[in-house]
């Protein structure tokens, strides 16, 4: 009986001692956290994607409180988060244009030719380092999926050796942009659906030899709709400030590289493959 009491007493004593030590420590070393940080954190989506330039949502909240960062940096959150943040901080709310990633290439296995067999590491940079990749086109998508591996929300699919971003899934974090050794990915407004899906700077005949859907630098699009299309050497570029006013360009483009992705989001043109 005595043994039991003694044990209970000693253990209980240790418990009381430790509890008071902990209570004391909690009191002395208490870290003051600005309650506003927690409040803002609740407004943020919590995906910790890093698009804002901070290590995660909580870091970004701290930066807003410290007035180091504006409230318009959360791309995945879009306008809802922006409004919530504006309400919480009292800052003026603007509207954000939703931006999504786009792979500026349509060189699927059927469209683009392969130059040599590649039997190395399944990584785009590794394949690119070997004589500029195994595609005949020196600019197009290699399809080894380095971008898909860095996407935090699996918005990129590799289909027939071509990376395609699903705009509905993309949260606009830009992680994929830097991962592509061919610099094929850039952010475009989600509302714009007509794109130039080619990045080949080569002259027409060379580009055409490498891929069925290459831009041949004919300038027809720039002539038909100069506000929406501009030329950069032998490559047409989409000017996203303006809408496409003359949808005939899609039909008229001899390279078949102007594509309307609106009907079915991960749209692939079928014209080019059979033409």
């Amino acid at each position: 009986m005595l043994t039991i009491l003694l044990t209970a007493g000693v253990i209980g004593g240790i418990a009381v001692l430790c509890a008071s030590a902990l209570a004391l420590a909690a009191h002395c070393f208490a870290v003051y956290e600005d309650p506003r940080v927690g409040e803002l954190e609740k407004c943020l989506p919590g995906v910790n994607c890093g698009a804002c330039g901070y290590a995660g949502c909580s870091d970004y909240a701290k930066a807003i409180v410290a007035e180091e960062a504006g409230i318009d940096r959360c791309a995945p959150g879009g306008n809802d988060v922006l409004e919530a943040l504006a309400a919480a901080t009292g800052a003026a709310a603007t509207t954000l244009e939703k931006m999504v990633a786009l792979v500026h290439c349509n060189g699927t296995a059927e469209n683009a030719k392969h130059r040599h067999a590649y039997n190395g590491i399944m990584d785009c940079q590794a394949a690119h380092q070997l004589a500029g990749g195994d595609m005949t086109c020196n600019y197009g998508c290699l399809g080894y999926g380095s971008c898909a591996r860095v996407c935090p929300v699996d918005a990129i699919e590799i289909n027939k050796n071509l990376a395609i971003v699903h705009p509905d899934l993309c949260i606009g974090c830009k992680a994929c942009v830097a991962s592509c050794p061919r610099n094929l990915i850039s952010m475009v407004p989600a509302s714009k659906k007509i794109h130039v899906l080619c990045s080949s700077a080569d002259k027409g005949p060379i580009a055409k030899k490498a891929c069925n859907v290459a831009c041949i630098g004919c300038r027809i699009c720039a002539k038909l709709d100069g506000d929406a299309f501009t030329m950069d050497g032998f490559l047409a570029k989409r000017n996203y400030d303006n809408d496409v006013t003359n949808p005939a360009v899609i039909e008229k483009c001899p390279g078949k590289c102007i594509v309307d992705t609106a009907p079915a989001p991960p749209a692939q043109p079928t014209e080019g493959q059979h033409a």
Partner: protein, 453 residues
């Protein structure tokens, strides 16, 4: 004239089949300029040269057609006379895009342009000689293509006492340096004399693998003409990678280049025999670097041989000069089979660093399926740099570049011994080649951030 032996054995090493007999005894043949030359501007390490000619310009052999773009860079000269057809961009073997000048050669135009020869070079100031070496566009011809002028101007706090002439040529198949030593030993010794004068060194080792007795003999005789310095031919055992810079220093002088260090940290400069000959030609005859000897070889080449060809000759022209192929090639490698680069087509062209062009038939090309590491440790035994290739490759695969750096990935010389012995056929060297540039960029960014902070 002394003949010495290597001071020790290589730590790790391999013994591939050499097949040097295909070309080792054939004299160097001179190839006339083909109809078109495709001259890349990225033939050396560092910034690509800047073209200074335009489409339609008439150029003569030896004329400077592109100037150095910075200190670590080298100019490029027209390898033959003719007309500039086009100045465009083309991918380099490493995948980056670089400018390229296409010349349509004109066999009628035999004019050549040289720089003024300097027979009295001993009387010239050091700076003039170095400027000439830079002006002639000389870059290390062993493979790395480091601009020679930079290598020969070590900072004052790094005194150099030993010059090592690299004639090891440890890559299988290649015999270009071997033939140069046999046929141009006098020229090489002239180059050694000039470089000794520039670096003010008193010791020269000419390092040659023992499988080249004719080169050893030729260099031994030629070195008799060299006075004022203590010269020796150092005979190295036939092992791969005997020709690697750090390995040669350790073999000939017993010094170890520290991790992350350079040969100059232990008072050495290592130059390839081809580079030394180019230095002699630039100073004594005023010749810019426009031609080089390339070993065109393989069991399916009609007449494998060492060809002195203008730089920018396409691989297709080179093999046509050698009589074509007897059987279709399954793989074409620019450089040696251990460290060279497989080529996507014969459209590529030679550069200042093209030591060889190896044609392999189907039977010699294995398409490996890479399997997980079985933990056998053979790569560790084979690595001449004392690294742990298996462990480094996992860290790279997992994207943990900091760990890879801690495992000294930057000391890897990309010799390929580890991948050669790996029974699981792991693409070890490719992992290292992928990670090294990324780590170097990260280091640079960190250093820059520290500088601005």
């Amino acid at each position: 004239m002394k003949v010495t032996r290597a001071l020790r054995k290589l730590r790790g090493s391999i013994h591939p089949q050499y097949f040097k007999g295909l070309t080792a005894d054939a004299p160097i043949t001179t190839m006339p300029a083909p109809a078109k030359l495709f001259v890349s501007m990225a033939q050396h390490l560092g910034a690509p040269a800047k073209p200074i000619v335009a489409k339609g310009d008439i150029v003569v052999q030896g004329q400077c057609i592109a100037e150095a773009a910075g200190f670590i860079s080298a100019p490029v000269h027209a390898p033959a006379s003719g007309k500039v057809l086009e100045v465009d961009t083309a991918p380099t073997p490493a995948g980056t895009m670089a400018p390229r000048i296409i010349i349509e050669t004109d066999p009628q135009n035999t004019e050549t342009q040289t720089l003024p020869p300097m027979p009295e070079w001993q009387k010239q100031p050091r700076e003039t000689l170095l400027a000439r070496i830079a002006e002639a566009g000389i870059a290390g011809m062993g493979g790395a293509g480091f601009p020679t002028r930079v290598k020969l101007s070590p900072p004052a706090d790094k005194p150099i006492d030993t010059l090592i002439i690299n004639g090891a040529e440890c890559e299988p198949y290649l015999t270009a340096d071997h033939r140069l030593m046999v046929e141009h030993s006098a020229g090489i010794v002239n180059g050694i004399r000039i470089i000794c004068h520039l670096l003010e060194v008193k010791h020269v080792h000419v390092a040659i693998e023992e499988n080249k007795p004719s080169a050893i003999e030729a260099m031994q005789q030629a070195l008799e003409q060299l006075d004022g310095v203590e010269a020796s031919v150092c005979i190295l055992p036939t092992e791969y990678p005997q020709g690697a810079e750090k390995q040669q220093i350790s073999m000939t002088t017993g010094r170890e280049v520290p991790s992350g260090g350079l040969p100059m940290d232990v008072g050495c400069v290592v130059e390839n025999v081809g580079t030394v000959l180019a230095v002699a030609n630039a100073i004594l005859e005023g010749l810019p670097l426009t031609h080089r000897v390339t070993t065109v070889t393989g069991h399916i080449v009609q007449t494998p041989q060492n060809v002195l060809a203008p730089i920018g000759t396409t691989y297709a022209d080179l093999v046509a000069f050698c009589g074509g192929l007897t059987n279709p090639a399954a793989k074409v490698i620019s450089g040696g089979p251990m460290m060279g680069m497989a080529q996507p087509s014969l459209e590529g062209s030679t550069t200042k660093t093209s030591s060889g062009l190896v044609f392999l038939e189907e039977r010699r090309v294995h398409v490996y399926r890479s399997l997980p590491c079985i933990g056998c440790g053979r790569c560790i035994e084979a690595c001449p740099m004392d690294l742990i290739p298996a462990a480094i490759s996992y860290t790279v695969e997992g994207g943990d570049y900091d760990k890879a750096e801690a495992l000294n990935i930057l000391d890897c010389i990309e010799c390929g011994c580890c991948a050669f012995v790996c029974p699981a056929s792991r693409p070890l060297v490719q992992h290292f080649k992928l990670a090294k540039p990324k780590i170097i960029v990260k280091r640079r960014q960190a250093a820059a951030a520290k500088g601005t902070a």
